[in-house]
């Protein structure tokens, strides 16, 4: 894995290298060099299998992390490339030209996180959801419980008691020894 680190560092100024289990490496790259770097990894370093593309919402830092996980079948190693795009304007270059299957992932990310991949086939078409009118659901500021309770109104008639408060009511209502 060290040669991968070396290449990513010198050619694409990669940072935050994190080795896991000896066969898995995570690295952070700038968005600008991502497509080149993936192409390099695919064509030069043998990472020819795109395992997945996914995103993580770091709402506190106002960033989306997009992770591209690649696998090298001869070396049996994986590289996870992280890039960060701003939440306010989440646009990322599409890689469907490198891997056909990337289009599906990008379509899902567009729907679930609202990250745009201009040029990716059918990226604006609903994939999983239908008639969705809220903010993209995988964003962390979307409260699924609140939405579910308001939309699907759970069956009424349930009431629970917190043991601590209930015991207080029963045994020492004014906060004192009885």
């Amino acid at each position: 894995m060290d040669y991968v680190i070396q290449e990513l560092k010198t050619l694409f100024s990669g940072q935050n290298f994190e080795k896991k289990r000896g066969d898995l490496l995570f690295a952070t790259l700038d968005t600008g060099v991502l497509v080149q770097a993936l192409k390099h990894l695919r064509d030069m370093l043998g990472f020819r299998h795109l395992v997945l593309i996914t995103a993580v919402d770091w709402i506190e830092e106002d960033l989306f992390q997009i992770t591209y996980l690649l696998r090298n079948y001869t070396q049996k190693t994986d590289v996870g490339i992280r890039v960060f795009v701003p939440r306010s304007n989440p646009i990322m270059e599409s890689i469907h030209t490198l891997w056909e299957t990337a289009a599906t992932y990008q379509r899902e990310l567009h729907e679930m996180f609202g990250i745009d991949f201009p040029g990716s086939p059918r990226v604006n078409k609903p994939f999983i959801l239908e008639g969705w009118q809220e903010i993209p659901p995988y964003r962390r500021d979307f409260d699924t419980k609140k939405y579910a309770e308001e939309t699907y109104f759970p069956r009424p008639g349930r009431k629970t008691h917190d043991p601590e408060t209930y015991m207080k009511q029963k045994l020492y209502p004014d906060g004192t020894e009885s």
Binding site: K20, L50, T54, W99, A103, T104, E130
Partner: protein, 392 residues
């Protein structure tokens, strides 16, 4: 293999990317939906087909009918509370989810799993593979109007489910592989009963081979159907038996061995033709390998030992910051969990990579073009896709 020559002159012209130019309003095409309520789709999904005559011109896969938002729900559940959730992601073989999730948590939290638990996990995963293959086999036969093998394999699967029930306490959802180990030891007499089921399976699989794989009708309909070019494996992210049938021996159990697979003796099954028949046959032979693997596991598994590592209080369990990816070989290919922890009691992000994700969408849409409408179902089952793992 084509059995009759068609007049291709009436076919529409092609676009630059090889797809057909389709003008629906010209009335030369029929626009039909196969699914979600249709016996010819696997599970609850649909194919939107445009056909000319009885040949598919264009296909679009529609998923999302089973979307429950697992990845969102997990973000608001503690790690232990995600444990009952994950197995629901893939209904026919929940255990791969349980294993991947547990392995991911163990890796992030730095938990050492006891030896015995590793063996039991390997056993459970192979049993799940067996159950899933057996059920799929029935579906594959059924999609060609061949009801008999499905009757056999489904009752065999039910025997496996009975063994699951006595081992794990659950029939479909086992909720057994917990981060840290497994929830219980093997019950008394379990090995013997499981071995008996394995004998039954081997016996019946011989009949299945005779009745299904050696059947002329079956051969004629599946040979030459939906050929996956080996060069597609990489751009389309094809894994598992679908890749192995194209002659590329991809098998996570061999490539990145996990659990006790390094101590087991087996070779991944591969095929050459890469058509539907080969894919089905690769799975049939893989099923027999699984039977053999279970025998090996039962032989090598230690009798005694801890099956659970000590856990902290799971109600307050905080897992250190980090990210990881854990994979396992399920019946359809590479099953993987990408997990990110932010140091809190709740996972930051869990992304599930089901193998059907690539097989059922991008690959299916490509393969189905030019296929006879009657063979679409057979083609789908030959790819062995399960919709719940696509949309999660």
């Amino acid at each position: 293999m084509k059995y009759f020559e068609e007049d291709r002159s009436k076919f529409p012209p092609k676009n630059a990317d090889g797809s057909f130019q389709i003008d629906l309003e010209s009335h030369k095409f029929t626009h039909i939906w196969q699914g979600p309520q249709h016996p010819g789709v696997t599970g609850n999904m649909s194919l939107e087909l445009i056909i000319q005559g009885d040949e598919v011109m264009q296909c679009e896969t529609h998923v999302g009918y089973l979307h429950r938002g697992f990845e969102k729900l997990m973000e608001r559940r503690k790690y232990i509370q995600c444990f009952p959730l994950v197995c629901r992601i893939c209904v026919p073989e929940p255990d791969f989810n349980e294993y991947c999730f547990a392995a991911g948590v163990e890796e992030l939290a730095g938990i050492e799993v006891p030896e015995k638990a590793l063996w039991i996990r390997t056993l459970v995963l192979e049993m799940a593979r067996l159950a899933s293959y057996l059920m799929w086999m029935g579906g594959a036969a059924g999609s060609l109007g061949h009801g008999l093998p499905g009757q056999w394999t489904n009752y065999l699967r039910d025997y496996i489910l009975d063994r699951f029930e006595e081992l794990t306490g659950g029939r479909i959802y086992h909720m057994y592989i917990l981060p840290g180990g497994v929830r219980n030891d093997l019950p008394e007499g379990f090995k013997q009963r499981l071995l008996e089921v394995l004998d039954d399976i081997e016996q019946i699989m011989k009949d299945v081979k005779t009745v299904m794989f050696n059947n002329t009708v079956f051969k004629k309909r599946t040979q030459g159907l939906g050929i996956i070019d080996p060069s597609w494996v990489e751009p389309y992210g094809i894994t598992g038996p679908n890749a192995r049938a194209a002659g590329i021996p991809l098998d996570v159990r061999k490539d990145s061995p996990y659990l006790k697979y390094p101590e087991l003796d087996f070779e991944p099954v591969t095929g050459q033709e890469s058509d539907a028949y080969t894919r089905l046959d690769v799975r049939r032979r893989d099923l027999l390998i699984t039977v053999d693997l279970i025998r090996q596991i039962l032989n090598k598994m230690p009798e005694n030992g801890e099956y659970m590592a000590p856990l902290p209080n799971v109600l307050n369990w905080e897992i250190p910051r980090g990210e990881t990816y854990v994979r396992a070989e399920c019946t359809r290919g590479e099953y993987g969990y990408y997990m990110v922890s932010d140091g809190s009691m709740y996972p930051r992000r869990v992304n599930v990579r089901g193998p059907s994700y690539t097989h059922a969408v991008a690959l299916m849409e490509k393969l189905v073009v030019g296929v006879n409408i009657a063979d679409v179902a057979a083609l789908m089952t030959s790819l062995h896709t399960y919709p719940p793992e696509i949309e999660r």
